[in-house]
Assembly symmetry: C2
Homo-oligomer: 286 residues x 2
């Protein structure tokens, strides 16, 4: 059985796009599809998370259209990215999947669920928010400062994005960065400027203020687990609370002294909580 | 081994009070001390919760001073109730305990932790809030209506307090009420009017608006798990979010379509989540 480090990058065609993906773990009913954050590739996932899940279920990482090794362009809307993700899942001939989305991957995950409800069994939304969420149109001041700064080493960006300034959180961040370098061969090239710009355009549209902005969440009837860190300054933590309060069937978990990358700070606990949610016949019965 | 139904009511003296209590479950390092809600006795706990915990740890239920079979008066402050609870725990010669508080029991639990930090290993706060929490001075309009109404059967009060109006939640409520009647012998007498009045006085003081009201939470350094239902109208759900955001070392879990009594609606999931939190050497590592 392959794992995060050894799973070969494979390709599948759909919608005129050649999607790069990796698939590993214990085969079962509904694989767990991972949707990545802004400027992220398959190699930005934490092996402690992906391999943690892979012991009990099949895990599928992919680059959405226009990201890293996948062909095509990044659409300038999350509706477009969701449609591409659905095409990818259908190209793998999967009838039903569990969907995990992190940060803007959580926006794609919401769009997948809205556009193809029968394809999605359960939903996990991490470090993300609703349409017209708090400071999601312009980005937060902290986030704009963090993404606008220059760094001696690129890793320093991710330490600030995903972890709080506390010693404990930063130490967890350094451990994460080691894990995330464990795969040495067949790594994804970084996302290019054009792709990042399209993602930014889509974020501004998603975040734009609207009347009755959160009503659409009533249409996401899947059992949903919303997760965030206590101090997410990229997509404010209150947006996770708003998601939980407006989704008809959602549970919220917030972790202490943690930021946007709470799943990378507490990988074992995150995998355990999500596994309790995904594994039970009734998601609200342990 | 005894359980929720069969554990005999015992007594211990401290502070001039004769405390009624029940103790059962698997003996270990830190027993879990249960602090009850407004007008509640030992018999208001859900056996699915208490016996769920008892499989892995020792559980101690008690009536605080002036409540049901315990002698003395209910103090008119939570500081006073906390001091009495500490006297009770010390009278049992326990060096360290885990403390669970539900509703106003969560206010007592906070006071125990503030007054005797070395006595408390970990803290579980369910359906509760901080000093000067949202609508905690006057009570919520919904809560005042629910507690002020008259009911054909007393159980109808608890169905409205602890569960949402949804069919699913009400059905869970009726199951809870059956479980809560399973103990037929040696049940606690109901709380009297004088005790309820003192509890109300204490609630008004706790809830009163203050400057820097939430600063005191920084002194609760114990790992804390905050839990609530998505739609608590007795102590608004946002108060659980405020607790998590202001406690230095806290995790939040909010359950879907549930109210004040989320632990009675999802007893298995609640026991599982709290057990993950209490059992790990590091509470944030599964």
């Amino acid at each position: 059985m392959t794992n995060h480090q050894t799973a070969p990058t494979q390709y599948v065609e759909a919608n005129g796009i050649r999607f790069a993906y990796r698939r590993f773990g214990k085969a079962g009913d509904a694989p767990l599809i991972f949707n990545m954050h802004f400027m992220g590739t398959m190699d930005h996932w934490d092996p402690a998370v992906t391999d943690g899940f892979a012991k009990e279920r099949e895990v599928i990482l992919f680059d959405n259209a226009g990201v890293s090794r996948s062909s095509g362009d990044v659409p300038d809307s999350f509706a477009g990215m969701g449609a591409n993700a659905i095409a990818f899942v259908k190209a793998l001939r999967l009838k039903q999947v569990d969907v995990l989305g992190f940060s803007i991957g959580g926006l794609v995950a919401q769009e997948i669920t809205l556009q193809a409800p029968h394809l999605v069994r359960r939903l996990v939304l991490v470090g993300t928010g609703p349409r017209s969420g708090d400071s999601m149109d312009t980005g937060t001041p902290e986030g704009n400062q963090i993404f606008g700064a220059t760094y001696e080493h690129p890793d320093d960006l991710w330490l600030r994005v995903h972890f709080t300034p506390s010693e404990v959180s930063q130490a967890a961040g350094r451990k994460f960065l080691k894990r995330f370098r464990l795969r040495t061969k067949d790594r994804d090239p970084e996302v290019n400027e054009k792709a990042a710009l399209a993602q930014r355009t889509a974020i501004a549209k998603w975040g734009a203020k609207r009347e009755h902005a959160w009503d659409y969440l009533k249409d996401i009837k899947q059992p949903t687990l919303v997760v965030n860190g206590s101090n997410d300054v990229i997509i404010y933590t209150i947006n996770s609370y708003i998601l939980e309060q407006n989704l008809p069937n959602a549970q919220l978990i917030i972790y202490p002294d943690s930021a946007h990358g709470s799943l990378y700070q507490y990988p074992e606990l995150f995998v355990r909580h999500v596994s309790v949610f995904l594994s039970a016949a009734d998601p609200w019965t342990a």
